[in-house]
């Protein structure tokens, strides 16, 4: 469960622009994924659980545009269902991690003093606990529940946001613009909206982009050691684990969930990477 500090908070330029071309591409990709996940089930009655053991690992064809998996299930239906679930849960996991992380980070950076010290000690100590242990224990307490899995992962990830946001806030709070705003008597809401958030947003978004991938891959990794399996649910990470044994027989099947995660991460990255060179 590795987290990523992808952005050094220094020199985050505050820039207000409409979406640039990279970001538009990102939005397009996300929409395409969402269309597959949420649109397809509306127009077809494909069943992601229906098996056909005489048609296993079939190559893509007209009837089955994505082929079939190791139990002869329609990969199209499974991918749609998995994208829906994983997109939803990954975004939920990211939000669950980001909201407390950002709020507490701003609080610690803004207030300073003992609030800052207490929160930092808490975060440092939690960070020292092995994340794998926390997630495994939570999953063991609520076996087979995806919620426990994502909440566990979010619990591990929030500290990353806290640390980065706190650092950025501390530096911004002493900047001349914020001093000026404060002297002019603007309230905390204004400062947050006008100064802090524009500076924090790209950092948080980049962390979130990779955080979503981390969450999905963490579930794949846990599935690899047989934690979190709950047939017949389709989830991108678990599909990678389940389909791994067939990497030689049917590589195209294993490639599908990987491609979906790749597109998701790429889209979020493009969206977050609004920083102009």
């Amino acid at each position: 469960m590795q987290t990523a500090t992808l952005v050094t908070p220094a020199a985050v330029t505050v820039e207000r622009r409409l979406l640039n071309s990279r970001q538009r591409l990102g939005v397009g990709l996300l929409l395409a994924l969402a269309l597959l996940g949420f649109g397809l089930p509306l127009i077809s009655d494909l069943d992601p659980a229906r098996q056909n053991l005489s048609q296993i690992l079939a190559a893509p064809s007209l009837a089955e545009p994505f082929g079939t998996d190791h139990l002869g299930r329609s990969m199209l239906a499974r991918m749609a269902s998995a994208v829906q679930l994983s997109l939803g849960l990954a975004l939920l996991g990211v939000v669950t991690a980001a909201v407390p992380g950002v709020l507490l980070g701003v609080l610690a950076g803004w207030r300073g003093g003992w609030v800052d010290r207490c929160l930092t000690v808490l975060a440092d100590t939690l960070l020292a606990l092995p994340g794998l242990l926390l997630v495994l224990l939570l999953v063991a307490i609520a076996p087979g529940s995806f919620w426990a899995l994502y909440v566990g992962i979010a619990l591990v990830l929030w500290i990353e946001y806290f640390r980065v946001v706190r650092q950025t806030t501390v530096r911004l709070m002493v900047s001349p613009q914020i001093e000026a705003s404060r002297l002019l008597g603007f309230g905390p809401g204004y400062i947050l909206r006008r100064h802090l958030w524009p500076a924090l947003a790209p950092v948080v978004l980049t962390l979130g982009a990779f955080g979503a991938a981390t969450a999905i891959l963490a579930i794949a990794a846990l599935g690899f050691v047989s934690v979190g399996l709950r047939p017949p649910t389709a989830e991108l990470g678990l599909m990678m684990t389940e389909l791994l044994p067939y990497y030689h027989d049917a590589p195209w099947v294993l490639l599908q969930p990987i491609t979906a995660v790749f597109l998701l991460v790429l889209a979020l990255n493009l969206l977050a990477g609004g920083r102009k060179p």
Partner: protein, 505 residues
């Protein structure tokens, strides 16, 4: 980049020399970890690698033959067994094997959980060069129990004060050179071995949990022998000219353990219906990739007398299954799901992931029973949930892989599985007085024709009543490098038989 490449190339050249050269070490890779030095816990590793030995050995038909015991006799009342301990046998530390040492090792085994507890043993004593086992009631399969790895005879120095074996000092043709629990063991030939000295002088054992890893190790030449190939890799390895793939049917059956006390499952007709709804051929061919593994009955052909010859019936018949359930009052709703008196036909199937085929089969069963109108919740958990659920009565269905040859005589396992209170891995809330009689009678039956009749009757009874629904018979498989000659698979998985192998010149 350049730096890295040169490092990689340099290191890889080193590796090429050290790994792929014929270093005279036979590399064995298998999925089982070496969790302990105690025979009660991980004894099978040491007997398989021929480090520890047992009083009794077993031939390919499962019949007992002399091991560390040269011979044995049984008293007329069948209550006293005398095993004459082989003379001139030395342990790896040089100490001699005596009847006292053997008896002490067996007493330790008896005190711990294990197969020996199945037998009604009153006392294990010594008389001269004989180990004397006294029973409270006749128990014909006793020699088979004494061939079990938990009863292997280790030197007195192996045990610590607590009576646990903290090192493995056996009598076998190989002695441990280095043990790195839980994954690695290397052994070398024991020069004072009482039998024939093996041709291969050194072996190493590596536990690799993933089937993909093992298959790749076979392909790359890192392993000379790889046990338990995953179905998906088998075909690929068969095409590899440097490897030979072996497969042997063993007495392990993948089956559904059923709570016959559950209101939905109490009627044998309901169990029959579930059985008819299963696509055994599809699962065997498509998932296990061995079409002949589809199980028409609980006991596989390898179990000889216990297997019913004149039985087919692995076929799927959804219509008949539906009719049977309709006869029991189950009605289908517009989606085809069944319910009775407002209660939906929903069951929980518990299984575990230690054997990778189990969750896969569970998923297939889930879909097949759904076609019948039965909703199945699959709970992939730990193996211990099944005996625990059996004890507290909460278990409904469990997918298990029961090995009936835990000891070479299946009676040892069947007594555990189909006792009066069922068995942790066998029947649940189901008991047949007749089956109990048969098993008890077999404990003292000496006439082989009568025994055959009894075994066949037991098999027919289990087939009719279905306290366990059989799905597939298991095949043990291995990929062997063409450098190795004389390889064979022990159908009782007691030994890897390295001492019979040699290098191809």
């Amino acid at each position: 980049m350049i730096k890295l490449r040169s490092i990689l190339i340099g290191a890889s050249m080193l590796a090429a020399v050290s790994v792929h050269a014929s270093d005279g070490v036979l590399d064995i890779v298998a999925p089982w970890e070496v969790g302990s030095t105690d025979p009660a816990k991980a004894g099978y590793v040491y007997t398989r690698l021929q480090i520890g030995e047992t009083l009794v050995e077993v031939n390919d038909q499962g019949k007992p033959r002399p091991g560390l015991a040269e011979s044995w006799t049984i008293s007329d009342d069948q209550l006293s067994w005398r095993f004459t301990v082989r003379q001139g046998v030395r342990f790896h530390d040089g100490s001699p094997l005596t009847a006292e040492v053997a008896a002490r090792a067996l007493q330790r085994a008896l005190a711990k959980p294990g197969m020996l507890a199945v037998a009604p043993i009153e006392a294990i004593g010594v008389d001269g060069d004989q180990v004397v086992v006294r029973l409270s009631s006749p128990f014909a399969p006793l020699p088979a129990l004494l061939a079990h790895s938990s009863t292997q005879i280790l030197a007195p120095a192996s045990y610590n004060e607590a009576g646990e074996a903290s090192q493995v000092i056996g009598t076998g043709p190989y002695r441990i050179e280095r043990l790195q629990m839980p994954q690695k063991l290397s052994a070398t030939v024991f020069n004072d071995y009482w039998g024939e000295t093996p041709a291969i002088a050194k072996l190493s054992y590596l536990a690799a949990g993933r089937g993909e890893t093992r298959a790749l190790m076979a392909q790359s030449g890192d392993a000379d022998i790889v046990f338990t190939l995953d179905p998906a890799s088998q075909a690929r390895l068969q095409r590899d000219s440097r490897l030979e793939v072996h497969g042997v049917a063993i007495s392990r059956t993948l089956s559904l353990k059923i709570n016959a006390g559950h209101p939905f499952l109490a009627d044998p007709k309901a169990r029959q219906a579930l059985s008819l709804a299963l696509d055994r051929r599809g699962m065997a061919a498509g998932l296990l990739r061995t079409p002949e593994a589809a199980a028409s009955q609980l006991f596989p052909p390898t179990m000889g007398d216990w297997h019913l010859q004149a039985l087919s019936g692995a076929e799927r018949d959804l219509e008949q299954a539906r009719a049977l359930l309709a006869g029991l009052g189950w009605k289908a709703d517009d989606k085809g799901m069944l319910s009775r008196n407002g209660k939906p036909f929903t069951l929980t199937l518990t299984t575990f992931a230690d054997r990778p085929e189990l969750p896969l089969l569970a998923t297939a069963i889930q879909a097949q029973l759904r076609e019948l109108g039965v909703a199945l919740v699959v709970n992939v958990s730990n193996a211990s949930e099944i005996p625990a659920g059996h004890r507290d009565g909460s278990l409904q269905l469990a997918l298990v892989a029961r090995n009936f040859a835990l000891v070479s005589d299946p009676l040892g396992t069947l007594l555990q599985d189909f006792g009066p209170r069922g068995g942790d891995w066998g029947a649940m809330n189901w008991h047949s007085a007749r089956l109990g009689e048969i098993l008890q009678q077999l404990l003292q039956e000496t006439d082989s024709q009568t025994a055959l009749g009894l075994r066949q009757e037991a098999a027919r009874l289990l087939h009719r009543e279905l306290p366990m629904i059989p799905l597939a018979w298991y095949q043990q498989s291995a990929a062997v490098s063409s450098k190795v000659a004389g390889f064979s698979i022990d159908p009782f998985e007691r030994s890897y038989r390295v001492s019979d192998m040699r290098w191809v010149q």
